[in-house]
């Protein structure tokens, strides 16, 4: 049975390679790592700064989502984290690492986990653009 070795919502810097190492093991032939990094552009506009806000339940939702995905796929270990607060451009906001015996399961579980986490975790993104405008993403 697959194990969620880490599911964290944190104000600290996320180093994706830490998560790769957390899930790797001699029984796993494949590790797929996703790193969602803060981009300098969004819908054609230059991003000046970006801040995530997290609900108090965000971390437990993240763990729940990871456990759901582990039950669906033949994977060995999963670790993931989402950062909140202001995040400088280029730094990691969201990391998902999945280790499995075979690459097909690792790719499928990692992609699905990223999609489901984005859908389910109560976290919000606020962007301020170079042109002075700002927005809460997904809130038109």
């Amino acid at each position: 049975m697959a194990k969620v070795v880490k599911a964290l919502v944190t104000l600290d810097v996320i180093n994706p390679s830490d998560y790769q190492k957390l899930v790797s093991g001699n029984d796993s032939g494949a590790v797929v790592l996703f790193s969602g990094d803060v981009r300098d552009h969004h819908d054609g506009k230059q991003v000046k700064s970006l801040t995530y806000e997290a609900h108090p339940t965000a971390q437990s939702v993240l763990a729940d989502v990871a456990n759901q995905i582990c039950q669906k796929h033949d994977v060995n270990q999963v670790a993931l984290a989402h950062r909140h607060g202001e995040i400088p451009i280029g730094q990691c906001a969201f990391v998902v690492a999945v280790a499995a015996s075979h690459r097909e399961a690792a790719f499928a579980a990692c992609g699905e986990l990223v999609d489901e986490a984005k859908r389910q975790i109560p976290i919000w993104k606020h962007q301020i653009f170079i042109d002075g405008t700002e927005e809460w993403v997904n809130f038109a």
């Binding site: 609900h55 108090p56 339940t57 965000a58 976290i123 919000w124 993403v137 997904n138 809130f139």
Partner: protein, 78 residues
Amino acid sequence: MALVRFFAAAKAVTKTSEIQVSGDDVAEVLANATQKFPELSHVLPKCSILLNEVSCFDFKTAVGDSDLVDLLPPFAGG
């Protein structure tokens, strides 16, 4: 009466993190909150509601002074 907490865009329009709002059930609390912050009328329809940090779909659920009602705009994590 319940403690209503605003997040993200809901906090931005009310300029408030949390506030005590009167009302015997979730629907009344939300209505009274909207009366206090008219700008919420645009935001509330897009929000999901948590009662004591669990998704609430039945707005006729009774609330008391120690209950938390959270307004969550559409998520944008990742």
